[in-house]
């Protein structure tokens, strides 16, 4: 079996082609908004502290949404299923305002679907899920984006 990583680090500079939909995943599909709080941030900090020791940093969107891909899927967005392998391809967190004690509203959406062929002829699909976090006044606090990478079999 091919190790998963050889597909993702494929140095071929093939063009990504954007798709409007694939299987039942559609660009622009939005999950129902839901309320999130900073309560889980303590557990997260404790989890990292167990490996790293005490390093204090200001609370950020990454503490509210540590895994943007898992977060968006848990919100109800679909994930591609008809591939040999599916992995987490990366995350981006953008903080736009300081995080306070008040709750946030999170809305996740399928932001992009793109595909290309790897140098060994496999289909490679990337689905970006973006979640926007707004405060109770409606102001944007930050965004978190997770990339789901799907690798097909050699055709």
């Amino acid at each position: 079996m091919m190790p998963a990583e050889t597909q993702v680090t494929d140095p071929a500079e093939a063009e990504w082609v954007e798709l409007a939909h694939l299987e039942d995943v559609r660009v622009g599909e939005v999950a129902p908004p839901h309320r999130v709080t900073t309560i889980g941030a303590d557990r997260l900090q404790a989890a990292i502290r167990s490996a790293l020791g005490d390093i204090e940093i200001p609370l950020g969107i990454a503490d509210i949404c540590p895994d943007p891909l898992v977060f968006a899927l848990a919100a109800g967005l679909p994930r591609l299923t008809n591939f040999a392998q599916s992995i987490d391809g990366g995350s981006t967190w953008c903080d736009r305002a300081p995080i306070g004690e008040e709750p946030f509203y999170a809305v996740s959406e399928v932001a992009q679907i793109a595909q290309r062929t790897t140098s060994d002829g496999r289909r490679l699909v990337r689905v970006n899920y973006q979640t926007r976090f707004t405060n109770t006044s409606g102001a944007l606090v930050g965004t978190a984006t997770g990339s789901s990478i799907h690798i097909g079999s050699i055709e």
Binding site: I48, A62, D88, G90, S91
Partner: protein, 295 residues
């Protein structure tokens, strides 16, 4: 109480940090993130999914990098954007090296410094399994009082701070009229100018750092609003609003030190003809003395 640690912002490589992620570390992470995918702790499931061993969560590695940024850049730095690309799976229980470099440090007009960093995680063989980048902001050292000079530079006092164009839609005017109990019509209500304020609409945000000052904030809100109309704002108008801050000053008040920012919005239609000019004052109050007492 956390003590701010200042670190030099000369471009350089960061000191590497080594961690050996164990199943226990990752189970704690799984519990905190509610990601119990068994590929991270069950060898059989991992094998069935194409991995030789259980693999470390990608976001766990990103979270470690994010915390290390606090050590590498100093605690007075705020991370604005962090991107991590998970290039290779890392087996649980193997040593990982975390590192990176400060690529550039660019002073901004408001006194802050924008820091750009390259980040990586390498496995025991030196292969990069995560590469990333980050944009962070280093605030200038806090002084004894409110940073009026920094604020004046940030809002470009006396200069045009930004221009934004808005289409006056029939639904917006109707919703606005309903909200204030007015009858909808072709002319927008007299107070509609506030709905075209780029600052209130969060299209222009030059003084966001005021929410991160080391002084307790005791309140805030609009101090005053004035408007002079040349003609009513009408449904169908395309209005370009140009904002200019005209005053930044502080006053002592019962809730502490009051910080005022006054701005003027010039509203012009698509022909460039002046429609209205508004002047708004916004105030924030701080307990500057209380922060002094904490030192």
């Amino acid at each position: 109480m956390t003590t701010a640690v200042s670190v030099s912002h000369t471009p350089r490589d960061f000191e590497e940090f080594t961690v050996e992620p164990s199943t226990e570390h990752l189970l704690r992470w799984a519990a905190a993130t509610e990601d119990f995918s068994p590929i991270h702790f069950d060898a059989q499931v991992a094998k069935a999914r194409g991995f030789d061993h259980p693999v470390v969560h990608g976001p766990w590695k990103a979270a470690v990098l994010r915390r290390l940024l606090g050590t590498w850049l100093g605690s007075n730095v705020t991370v604005h954007t962090l991107t991590a690309r998970y290039l290779r799976p890392d087996p649980v229980g193997r040593q990982l090296r975390f590192g990176g470099s400060l690529v550039s440090a660019t002073p901004l007009p408001d006194g802050a410094t924008e820091l750009r960093c390259a980040l990586w995680v390498r496995d025991e063989s030196g292969r990069v399994s995560v590469d990333g980048d980050c944009i962070a902001m280093s605030a200038p050292e806090a002084g004894e009082g409110l940073p009026l000079d920094r604020l004046r530079a940030a809002v470009k006092l006396g200069e045009d701070a930004g221009s934004f164009t808005y289409r006056v839609d029939v639904n917006d005017v109707a919703a606005f009229a309903k909200a204030i109990g007015a009858s909808p019509g072709a002319d927008a209500p007299a107070t509609f100018f506030a709905a075209l304020d780029p600052v209130e609409r969060r299209d222009l945000d030059l003084d966001g750092f005021l929410h991160q000052l080391p002084f307790p904030m005791t309140g805030g809100g609009n101090a005053f609003n004035e408007v002079v109309y040349e003609r009513p704002i009408r449904v169908g108008d395309v209005i370009t609003v140009t904002t200019r801050y005209t005053e930044v000053y502080e006053k002592k008040g019962s809730r502490g030190t009051l910080l005022f920012r006054v701005r003027v919005n010039e509203m012009r239609d698509s022909t460039g003809t002046l429609v209205a000019t508004s002047r708004c004052g916004h105030v924030l109050s701080y307990r500057v003395d209380a922060a002094e007492g904490q030192k």
